[in-house]
């Protein structure tokens, strides 16, 4: 969908992921999409260098979000959200409906 614009499909997946979930870490994103973590890390680094995403360490995990200081963030989010409307329902159910609300440790999933 936006692959032509962003140059590769991984960037598109990362942007959809951040648009839906708000934040993510490389291994988590890689597991959701079933792609090697180094490909996700590589593209996150590219996005971070461009000022589009920002990261911070939470414990040992580097957590990525959209960079709120990116001057075209509003427009980018609108574009990503508009493109997301065209993601097939089945794909949305697989990749973009992961449980994010808290769950006490020990409780069965």
């Amino acid at each position: 969908m936006l692959e032509g614009l962003f140059g590769n499909i991984i960037i598109e997946k990362i942007l959809f992921f951040l648009s839906v979930y708000g934040e993510g870490y490389p291994l988590g994103i890689a597991r959701v999409f079933g792609v090697p973590v180094n490909r996700i890390q590589q593209q996150l680094k590219r996005l971070e260098n461009g000022g589009i995403v920002a990261s911070r360490l939470v414990g040992n995990v580097r957590l990525y979000t959209f960079n709120p200081r990116f001057p075209f963030l509003k427009e980018l989010k609108e574009l990503v959200a508009r493109a997301y409307e065209f993601v097939p329902k089945k794909e949305k159910e697989i990749y973009y409906r992961i449980r994010k609300r808290p769950r006490r440790p020990g409780k069965p999933l």
């Binding site: 680094k45 260098n49 461009g50 000022g51 709120p68 200081r69 001057p71 075209f72 963030l73 509003k74």
Partner: protein, 179 residues
Amino acid sequence: MRIKRKSISIKELAAIVSNKLNESGIDAILVGGACVSIYTKNKYLSSDIDFVSAASIKEISPVLLDLGFERKSSRHFEKKDCPFFIEFVSPPAALGSEPVKETNVLKTRLGDIILLTPTDSVKDRLAAYYHWNDPQALEQAMLIARSQKISLREVKRWSEKEGHKEKYNAFVNMLKRRK
């Protein structure tokens, strides 16, 4: 020019780098914590010297290498025995969702530094406070506001546009309390 002194100041180094970039036909604006150090006469000392330039890193790299710096990551340069890192932040030069419209030129014996105006430097620091809740950035914004003449009316307009009226009010109240 080679940088030899370990005790070089942030202002001196920023001037040397700016001058060298300018000689190579590269425009760069000094932003971030280095502006705070300069405007507050080192009441806050940044270890980062951040520039924004429309030139590519490929064009910038030889200039920094010539000054004795090494490229350590895609946008970041270091030099052994130099206390400061130099980074070229991804363009455009922006303050939240607005472009930087005006810059300040600081003349030094080592060359001119093009940098954010004191008012824009306050906005730049407040952006970090607004978006990241960073207390250090708030403190830096206050230091500039107390050291330099700034337009609070302009900071207020920008803050409201960014959607952070409440945090702007908190900043102004803290500023009044400390005066």
